[in-house]
């Protein structure tokens, strides 16, 4: 369960059952298995795809949101796989945002690219991302031309995407890399006539001089080239020298560690975990699967000291909570009714995470979300307001006020019936907290949950009577409500517990 909580957004009840008792190796094999490409988003107005049509300026805002709702649902509905958690990781690494890019087709294509390479070769990924039209717009690669270089992408490529800030590169390396990258441009941006979007290399805007790098890159020189293939040839050389910097694999492995394991990387972890993982990354020619396989099966990953060290991101919390209760989005292709419900659910997931400060496809800056780089890391997700919103989100699921796809979200009575012995408040609470919380509670906390939260200080045997009364007359609304309200208060309390916010 721990493995699934960290490597995915949390299992559905069925997945939890199916994977119970399997070894880490078996689960990891499943997590890394190739997945089909998800069906692209549909336009509610036409029930047809829209990413492959000319830009629709009238409906652009709406269609942009559909992409976000759609991705939320892909996460919600995914089988046991590492893929979507990795796709989200890369959207926090190779950052672009829809506020700047401002073409929903570009954002869809960018998102698809993240998914395509999420578990592939980091080298090929970096080369492809550099040419991605959304990225070319976001970091002004499209404006970087010979004579008037725009250094934005060249800087972030080194500082954030590959070498990292400790890679020892110089301002000269920024300028030289910018020269290597001259000449690229996106195509089809907000084109209302033609559907095609992509990128192109304009040889006449390329800086054909030799580019000389500092000692950080072993004083490498990238030979200036001419012609239509010059851009890709020099870019490939550039990515090779960036990846040859010993800091690059360490930097990427640290990011993965902070995403999947823990924020804190003391010297011992750096030496005994990051460095060996980085060596493996390099030896595997920057393939990501071997690294993730090793990370998720390492002894350290399962170590008690890192359990509960991660504060759930808003997506973890929102998607994970939905999945726990078995809530899924219906197949949008089946009917318009389904498509409507599909976007209602996607909208709900997306909006809750956004108000908790995780706006999909729109990280606040090129650094991504602050929880993965700023002081105190995951604690960045938590403040008075976001904590309130987290609680508010969970309250809404249990109050029966919210109906998604015409259905209640959380049925606490049905849930209690899935437990081994709902007549026994001790067993009920023990089992529920084991399922809902990633970390164990001690006895005094459990007693508090039983006696104070669930039973409001009435004796425990009273629960048996109340529950059995309800079971005997399930349609008696008074008897039903008596246990339902108690269970609702209990589940709401758990949702608001600090322990529910960590994984």
């Amino acid at each position: 369960m721990y493995l699934l909580r960290r490597a995915t957004f949390g299992p559905t009840p069925d997945q939890g059952k199916a994977f119970a008792g399997q070894t880490a190796a078996q689960v990891v094999a499943k997590l890394l298995a190739d997945q089909p490409v998800p069906t692209p988003p549909l336009d509610l107005a036409t029930s047809k795809t829209f990413h492959d049509l000319p830009f629709d300026s009238t409906n652009a805002g709406k269609l942009n949101l559909y992409v976000k709702y759609w991705w939320s649902n892909v996460m919600l509905n995914q089988p046991v796989s590492l893929l979507e958690k990795m796709t989200l990781f890369w959207s926090n690494h190779f950052v672009t945002n829809d506020a700047t890019v401002n073409d929903y087709r570009f954002m869809y294509r960018y998102n698809a690219l993240l998914r395509q390479h999420a578990l592939g070769s980091f080298k090929i990924f970096t080369i492809a991302m550099t040419q991605d039209p959304a990225m070319l717009r976001f970091l002004n690669g499209n404006q970087n031309v010979v004579g008037t270089a725009n250094e934005n992408y060249a800087r972030e490529l080194q500082e954030l995407f590959t070498t990292g800030r400790d890679g020892g590169y110089t301002e000269t390396d920024i300028r030289e890399a910018a020269k290597v990258l001259t000449g690229w441009a996106d195509t089809g941006y907000r084109d209302t006539t033609n559907a095609a979007i992509g990128s192109t290399f304009r040889a006449n805007r390329h800086d054909t001089t030799d580019k000389k790098f500092s000692a950080a890159y072993k004083n490498a020189t990238i030979k200036g080239r001419t012609g239509a293939d010059a851009g890709l040839a020099e870019l490939t050389d550039l990515v090779d020298i960036l990846l040859a910097n010993p800091e690059t694999p360490r930097y990427i492995c640290r990011e993965l560690y902070r995403w999947f394991v823990n924020y804190d990387i003391p010297e011992t972890i750096e030496t005994n975990f990051i460095q060996p993982l980085a060596n493996l990354f390099r030896q595997s020619n920057f393939e990501l699967k071997p690294v993730m396989s090793a990370l998720l099966q390492s002894q350290h990953f399962f170590d008690e000291t890192v359990r509960g060290a991660v504060i759930k991101s808003p997506m973890d919390l929102v998607i994970g909570t939905f999945r726990f209760w078995g809530l899924q989005a219906p197949d949008p292709a089946q009917s318009t009714t389904n498509l409507t419900a599909y976007y209602q659910i996607g909208n709900y997931l997306y909006s809750r995470a956004k108000e908790q400060q995780q706006d999909l496809l729109n990280p606040p800056t090129v650094f991504g979300w602050t929880a993965y780089y700023l002081n105190d890391y995951y604690q960045q997700w938590i403040n008075s307001t976001t904590l309130g919103l987290r609680g508010f989100f969970a309250d809404a699921l249990t109050t029966n006020a919210l109906k998604l796809n015409g259905k209640l979200t959380v049925d606490v009575l049905a849930y209690a019936k899935t437990l081994s012995d709902p007549t026994d408040p001790t067993k009920l609470v023990n089992e529920a907290v084991t399922q809902l919380l990633g970390i164990p509670l001690d006895q005094s906390q459990k007693d508090f949950l039983i006696d104070t939260v669930l039973l409001s200080s009435i004796p425990r045997y009273e629960w048996i009577i109340e529950w059995n009364d309800y079971i005997k007359a399930p349609n008696d609304s008074a008897k039903r409500q008596a246990v339902q309200m108690k269970l609702t208060a209990f589940i709401q309390y758990i949702f608001r517990m600090a322990e529910y916010q960590v994984s």
Binding site: N140, F367, Y378, N383, L387, I439, Q445
Partner: protein, 521 residues
């Protein structure tokens, strides 16, 4: 005296290095913040600082325009493609050499009313070009070679409210020390152990969101998970304990001025004004405005006074004007100052994409009725660049020092602890005398220290003396007798004054003379 080493500051920041360490007429008529800080008046406890972070690195050179160097500024190899034309730049009262971006009419008005100060060329030695690292440096107030995990305002508030949040709220401090409007807690507000801030988006819904007091059983968890759980619980507890206070202040408070619509910063400032007028005791408010990373098309190519950057500056300027107007109408104007900062300025030379890449020094703005010096420093010298970057004049920590010392009345030890070092104070809240005044060599005061009599010599005295005042460091006027020995000197009898430091201030038709005097025997 190191931190008040005005001559050193003057040399680094003023064209004609005459920065007289006195207090102007205004200071004595109505006690200046500096005087107040010296005597540490109790009413400083209600002073408020509003910090506005401009995320992304604001282009200072298109914000504050060097009208005295337009030929360089608009040059083909400089900023031709994005330059603001001299005719469009907004003029500033008494400062013909400096203009504001045409979108900043609100801040122009505040400047002309004496409520806005521009600190020119703010940066730090060996600047960093990374958004991430540079923001950290500004927020934590470290040297660029060092790191820290707490913020400057957080450390100050931690000294002022020790053992927050455990022992708070108290009767003296019923409210959170800092409030951040918006998103994740800024590093600026972190103390060495805790966040000093409550983060909220909307005071009206805050109490409802936070809910009732959590009655959580104690945790026995240790290690990382123990740390995270403890942190979340503490956040829950402080939000619950402050929710009622914030709600009360929000209900009691009001806005009297009209704020511009669809202006995200104005919406945040509106909340701040309302909370202040509602009686919140909070000392620091923190707001954020993004979008300043203008690598490309910061201007519209056909009209450089419009475009992305213009929209940003208009948003900023309109919001600040409406806020200041509101504070004045709410009669709390004298309690509040504001400050803007950005992690860096941008390259002096524009790029080919009608934008600017990451640079170094840039102006900072401070606003409020306590402002004394309209412009600290001078226009950056566009002909003296460092790798295409503008040279630094004032360290950003000198501005923080001004806020801590002159605005919050912090003592030297606390100030140095908050900033890790002792910095000379940027004279934002002190009256300074600049190029309209005589240069230092034209003024002689001797002997200094004096025991019975001292002589002030200056050619300015030839036109006569309007007033002559002697004041002690508490701002109290001393009665002194004077005599004129020559046309360009005056003798002052100080034999009856107790030992200590004094300010001698002489007004003449040609300008003001002011000098610190020490009486010693």
């Amino acid at each position: 005296m190191k931190r008040r080493n005005f001559i050193q500051l003057a040399a680094s920041s003023l064209a004609l290095p005459v920065l007289i360490d006195g207090f102007g007429a205004k200071a004595f008529a109505r006690q200046s913040s500096f005087v107040q800080s010296l005597i540490n008046l109790a009413d400083q406890s209600d002073r408020v600082l509003v910090i506005i972070q401009l995320q992304g690195g604001n282009d200072g050179l298109n914000t504050v325009i060097p009208l005295d160097q337009m030929s360089v500024y608009t040059g083909a190899n400089f900023r031709k493609n994005i330059a603001i034309s001299e005719t469009k730049a907004l003029k500033l009262k008494n400062y013909a050499a400096t203009g504001l971006h045409p979108a900043m009419t609100g801040m122009q008005q505040l400047f002309n009313e004496g409520k806005l100060s521009i600190v020119q060329g703010v940066s730090y030695p060996t600047p960093n070009f990374s958004h991430f690292r540079a923001s950290d440096i500004w927020m934590t107030a470290v040297d660029s070679s060092q790191t820290a995990f707490s913020g400057w305002a957080g450390r100050y508030l931690d000294k002022r409210f020790p053992e927050f949040p455990d022992k708070y709220p108290t009767a003296q401090m019923p409210d959170p020390p800092a409030i951040q409007i918006g998103y994740v807690t800024a590093t600026t507000l972190l103390s060495p152990t805790d966040s000093m801030a409550i983060v909220l988006q909307d005071p009206d819904t805050f109490a409802r969101l936070v809910g009732d007091k959590p009655n959580a059983p104690a945790t026995t968890l240790t290690g990382y998970v123990g740390k995270q759980v403890e942190f979340i619980r503490q956040q829950q507890a402080s939000s619950v304990s402050y929710a009622g206070q914030i709600k009360t202040a929000a209900t009691k408070g009001k806005n009297l001025a009209t704020y511009p619509a669809s202006n995200t910063l104005a919406a945040q400032l509106k909340i701040v004004a309302r909370l202040i007028s509602g009686g919140m005791q909070t000392k620091v408010y923190y707001l954020t405005m993004g979008g300043f990373d203008t690598h490309a098309t910061q201007v519209v190519t056909t009209d450089t006074s419009t475009g992305t950057h213009a929209t940003l500056l208009k948003t900023l300027s309109d919001a600040i004007l409406s806020f200041q107007t509101d504070l004045a109408q709410l009669k709390v104007e004298d309690r509040v100052v504001g400050m803007t900062f950005s992690e860096f300025g941008r390259r002096a030379i524009s790029n080919g994409s009608f934008g600017t890449d990451h640079g170094t020094s840039a102006p900072m703005f401070l606003f409020g009725s306590a402002i004394k010096t309209p412009i600290v420093g001078k226009n950056p010298n566009l002909s003296d660049l460092d790798n295409n970057n503008l040279k630094m004049q004032t360290d950003f920590r000198q501005v923080y020092s001004a806020i801590l010392t002159d605005w919050f009345g912090t003592d030297d030890t606390t100030e140095a602890a908050a900033l890790f070092k002792d910095f000379s104070v940027a004279p934002v809240f002190r009256q300074t005398v600049t190029d309209t005044e005589p240069v230092a060599s034209e003024l002689r005061l001797y002997p200094n220290p004096a025991s019975s009599e001292l002589t002030l010599e200056s050619s300015l005295l030839g036109q006569g003396i309007a007033t002559l005042e002697m004041a002690d460091m508490q701002g109290r006027f001393m009665s002194v007798t004077t005599s004129r020995s020559t046309a360009t000197s005056v003798r002052v009898n100080v034999g009856h004054l107790p030992m200590g430091n004094y300010i001698l201030r002489v007004e003449t038709p040609q300008g003001l003379l002011s000098k610190r005097v020490m009486i010693a025997r």
